[in-house]
Subunit: 313 residues, 2 copies
């Protein structure tokens, strides 16, 4: 029951010798969601031991090169490796045009797999992906071109039934499913046993929000409230606040403020300008607003552990 984010790229548009353009893999229950696909993503996947075949869904925030230049090579490699499974790409509709424009030059026709494009609007929130375990919604962001963040929400899973209760109340198999879905149990004698006596407290659904690239905007708070991990861009530090505002980016301190106002559990800052040899000043500034701040570092894995909710009994 994983919920882990692997950082593949933490730089902004200009990469450095140690920081790559934006790319991240979120593993939710063995579904691998690639979030942004900057240049070098396929090499970073290799380095981090994530098999290409596991990537079925790619979420692209916006069409600046540092978020998509890895796609061309990824598609080429997937094709050469003989992929046949559909590849789903969630992005601004123009990405389909771009891929179609360059395909005749770069790829065998037809590709051995389908690319299924899911256009993302950037004006209002939309549910862009859903299965039995996870739901993904867009987060409208404020940048120089249409941009959306994404929030990945684990769905509530069935309750775990208490084995001692099954034995004690002699619960028949036919009633297990209904108890796991939250129902009470009525004994053959007509006594109602409340669900909370039969099950363990439910798992708290986990969540991760990814907000990059964006200007500081409190409008996003309603989408990211109480999130477990907020990944927020922090291209600049206080020293470059003016530049951050001009280019519709965020400072580390502002990212910290968003995390605090959103009541996030943990903040990861990333998308750092190449001008910063050390990220420590940015980390310090963000932590003055929100102590639980970490900097994105290539190869690091951030795990959200499962926790049970508290239950009034």
């Amino acid at each position: 029951m994983s919920f882990t984010l692997t950082i593949l790229g933490s730089s902004s548009a200009v990469p450095t010798s140690s920081r790559y353009p934006a790319a991240h893999v979120l593993n939710v229950h063995e579904r691998y969601f690639l979030i942004d696909c900057g240049e070098g993503t396929q090499m970073q996947l290799r380095k981090n031991g994530i098999r290409f075949g596991k990537i079925n869904h790619i979420f692209i925030t916006h069409l600046h090169g540092d978020h998509i230049f890895g796609l061309f090579g990824m598609i080429s490699t997937l094709s050469l490796l003989g992929r046949t499974t559909d590849l789903h790409i969630y992005a601004n509709a123009k990405l389909k045009q771009i891929i179609e424009l360059v395909s005749p030059y770069f790829y065998e026709h037809p590709l051995p797999f389908n690319i299924v494009f899911h256009p993302s609007g950037s004006k209002r929130q939309q549910t862009i992906y859903e299965d039995e375990m996870v739901i993904v919604r867009t987060i409208p962001l404020k940048h120089r071109i249409p941009t959306t963040g994404f929030i990945f929400l684990e769905k509530e899973v069935q309750l775990n039934i208490r084995k001692d209760a099954v034995d004690y109340f002699n619960i028949p198999v036919k009633d297990i499913h209904s108890i796991k879905s939250g129902k009470d149990f009525v004994t053959p004698e007509g006594e109602t046993i409340p669900n909370h006596r039969l099950t363990l407290p439910p798992w708290k659904p986990r969540s991760l929000a990814y907000c990059s690239d964006t200007a500081y905007s409190e409008k996003i708070l309603k989408y990211v409230e109480n999130v477990d991990i907020l990944y927020h861009e922090a291209t600049y530090g206080d020293d470059m606040e003016k530049r951050a505002h001009e280019t519709l980016h965020t400072t580390a301190r502002e990212a910290g403020r968003i995390a605090r106002l959103a009541n996030a559990e943990k903040l990861i800052i990333g998308h750092f300008s190449a001008r910063y040899k050390s990220i420590l000043p940015l980390l310090k500034e963000a932590r003055e607003e929100f102590p639980e701040t970490f900097s994105a570092e290539e190869g690091e894995i951030h795990t959200i552990e499962r926790k049970r909710s508290k239950r009034d009994q």
Copy 2:
């Protein structure tokens, strides 16, 4: 007076965790020639401490993605860094179309620098670049799409005059230039002093040929005869000879044979298939044909030292 090749990428189409797609920098007298520009080239330049501003000439062998997917990010980064100097790209004419197709999506218009395209034909040899120190010619190769290798030839430089001879014969400044260009010296008394008594033996012009991607073809021998370094692709080993021939690639043994028949000084094999965890078997096979074989390894620098020619006196 450098003549050094830095390997940035040694993989074929599918990169591995340690091998990147094709890219190399040749430094000839502080001119930096980028040869192929696979995905990740800009990160590899950073890692190897080569400043982007030094790259003014990019030579692209052919338009398979693993040789050009790094160009989009390079152009973007050069633009963000405020480059104004012309960037020269030597490649199949279609590359211009591709860059022009994607530019409206990826780049500010206009770019702050000009891209000057120099189309390379793949049918016969052409001189594609020349300045006072270096000449670059294409090498027609045999691949699935139009492909050219490149040979970089140092020009003969002026002779070094012997200081002791200047003193001994009391040579006036006005005659220095003509002696350096190979002329004899006539003393005021009418005695002719032959040039070889006045100058050191000339430097041997150095050369590097880059042949990738290509099927084994002895037709290239005439273009690469006596070259100092032959870089030749060796995508496969003996075990995959059939596949090599089907896909118009070369085996390591065949690359060794080309080096031997061409009387090269040294062979570098590269463009390795991702199937080879170790390159040692390929190296062994190539060395059975040509002992002075080395495998391309990211970050390694191959230097051709200046040597003086032997002179009959």
